[in-house]
């Protein structure tokens, strides 16, 4: 009998030990704790930490506990946080799912107005029923170029053709730029759509079965197979890898003089090229200037109701949006969309080369459409259709239209899963 009792006790202890305790909203010394989650696991994470640490040291009423996680959306969905970084293309989804709420009151307390932000940034955080996030930055498709191979950054399709012809003549493995079949596929697609002024949204889904879009996408096909501007066969992150490769004797590598890629590769390309690295706006491949990309915003989870926390969040935002503090974020290479900070950055291009350059692309920036589960709506287009355009020489406009119709159908079905 005693043994039985002991056994039950041991096992109960074992089970209870497995259960975690609850989170507390106050630190040991009575300060209000604010949990802040983001996905900044790369080099830029250190700069956000600087801002957070700076805030914590500047006052003694609140403490911001920052978590930088690789899968931060999953953690956010299943956890309990007071402030979250959300990409611009995910805001509509989180808003419709009721995960985030109107942040206007916090902004008012923090003395931040929407007019303090670039119009492109205002656009994606403002909804019919309120402001649901505060813009942090925009990271558009960026052009890095190798000054040794391209003294001037190419600005048009013709420039790219001329550059590629010249480079090809020097070495058949040298090209002007690289078009990848995966990785930044969505950015390439949306950029050419923006440059050709194509409206891809119909009601609550993507209308991709448009002749104009097929024509626009075939530009990339021509770049690879017709005009030989890009080497064929570039895959996941191929545009970055080809830029980093060096063409050598007997080596099978191909190299490009420029790379249209994400600005997060700045540290790597800077280390490889040093003084020979140039940064520029992406060239105009279509009818007009235009660039796509993503952006970060700070959003307020619906679960935050505590008045103390709300006040703390407002204080944190007020601190962060002082230009001298937000400039830390620009130092990481990100391009803040806060106008006073933009002015500070543009006044010191030496210190903020990448940020200052990308700020120049804001005026032609086109962000993601505000659609429910946008990323899932374009999944078929991005993962299945686009690679065919880049990899298959025999791809025709007719075949492409068929695939675009299928992609539109899938997009509609995903849109139907929105909460009613």
């Amino acid at each position: 009998m005693k043994k039985m009792l002991l056994a039950v006790v041991l096992i109960s202890v074992m089970i209870l030990a497995a259960c975690g305790g609850g989170a507390d909203s106050e630190t040991a010394d009575g300060k209000t704790k604010i949990t802040f989650i983001n996905g900044f696991t790369g080099g830029d994470g250190d700069f956000m930490k600087k801002i957070t640490d700076g805030f914590n040291e500047s006052q003694d009423q609140y403490v911001v506990e920052e978590s930088q996680e690789k899968d931060h959306y999953t953690k956010f969905k299943t956890g309990n946080y007071d402030l979250v970084v959300i990409h611009t293309d995910m805001l509509e989804t989180f808003k419709q799912d009721g995960m985030i709420k109107d942040i206007s009151s916090a902004l008012e307390t923090a003395e931040i107005s929407m007019d303090d932000f670039h119009p492109a940034a205002q656009e994606y955080v403002t909804f019919d029923d309120g402001v649901f996030a505060v813009p942090l930055d925009i990271h558009p498709l960026t052009m890095f170029y190798n000054k040794k191979l391209a003294s001037e950054p190419p600005a048009t399709y013709e420039d790219l053709m001329a550059l590629s012809k010249k480079l090809n003549g020097d070495d058949p493995n040298l090209f002007a730029t690289g078009i990848p079949s995966a990785g930044l596929a969505e950015w390439f697609i949306m950029t050419i759509a923006a440059q050709n002024n194509i409206d891809l949204v119909e009601d609550d889904h993507m209308n991709l079965a448009q002749e104009e879009l097929a024509d626009a996408l075939m530009i990339y096909h021509d770049m690879v197979f017709k005009d030989k501007i890009s080497p064929p066969g570039l895959g996941l992150d191929g545009e970055f890898q080809a830029f980093m490769k060096q063409v050598e004797e007997g080596n099978s590598a191909v190299q490009t003089a420029t790379s249209l890629t994400g600005p997060w590769y700045y540290a790597a390309v800077k280390e490889a090229y040093g003084e020979d690295l140039g940064i520029a706006s992406i060239p105009q491949l279509g009818d007009q200037k235009g660039v796509y990309g993503a952006g970060h915003t700070l959003a307020l989870p619906s679960s935050v109701n505590d008045e103390d926390k709300m006040a703390g969040i407002a204080e944190f935002l007020k601190y962060m949006y002082q230009p001298e503090n937000l400039a830390n974020w620009a130092e990481s290479g990100q391009a803040p969309t806060h106008i006073p900070t933009m002015e500070l950055v543009e006044g010191d291009v030496e210190k903020y080369p990448l940020s200052a350059q990308n700020i120049q692309q804001f005026d032609s920036f086109v962000g993601a459409p505000k659609l429910y589960q946008y990323r899932e709506q374009v999944r078929y287009l991005v993962e299945n259709v686009y690679p065919q355009i880049i990899s298959e020489e025999g791809m025709t406009k007719e075949k492409l239209m068929g695939e675009l119709e299928k992609a539109t159908e899938q997009s509609k079905q995903v849109a139907e899963t929105a909460p009613q």
Binding site: A7, G238, S252, Q373, Y380, N384
Partner: protein
Amino acid sequence: MRISRTWSTVLFLPFLICFLLFLVIPLAFGIYISFHQWSIFAGNGGFVGFDNYISILTPGTVFGDAFYNGLKNTLIFVAISVIPLVLISLALALLVNSIPKKFKVFYRTVFFISYAVSVTAVSAIFKWLFTGNGGYVNNVLNNFGIGSFNWLNDQPLAWIAILIATVWWTIGFNMILFINALDEVDENLYEAASLDGAGAWQQFRHITFPSIKGVFVFLTIITVIASFNLYGQTLLITAGGPGQSTQSLIMVIQQMVFSQNNLGIASAMAMAMGTVMVAIVAAQYFYSFRKQ
């Protein structure tokens, strides 16, 4: 030493609790969820009967297409991977078994060590090796005048790359089981056979193989199950590409949960996948042991 009934129950209890908590209850809960519309945010949206199953089994819908694509890719991988994984490990085991005793332990360890490496590291290595643009394998092939291949962006090259990575990674485990089975075979049988003039192949066919048949069938079954669970390699080496052609069923289920937030559909897919696996393994089992 007789163990008292009480004590044996106590020792068994932790396993039973874990088994219930982490296997039985989630399985039952999963079946329950698959009959409901269930979102990660909104929770239980109501009983929908077989709607989820109909969605995933209807071709032409976004869920049906995803499910069939994942299932098709997974079945392709099972078909191409099981035979190499079983036969190459058997060959390795026979090889290691026939070398002098003092080298046996060394080679056993060498071939097994790859199994201890995590899938992330293995994928990183093979992705780097098979990169189309100036990757190591292409450079070597170039040096021999064969030219380069677009390993990760063309089929069937992508499957070959994934297969090579998987074989290199997991062959050690099967090999060890075969070595153990081979150790059990009575040495005297070989002596008697060679006295009768039997060659190496005949010895294998009539002595070795029948003796290890049980382990052989067991390994084939667990290799099929392991291949069905393909996830890490296709996620990290090809990211489901080119053109979603290496997107395994588990990858699709993961997308349904963490991107589409649709637990109902994901659970239905998982149940369907489990059913397919059980059917295939049962068929294998009965085929192998039908005479017994």
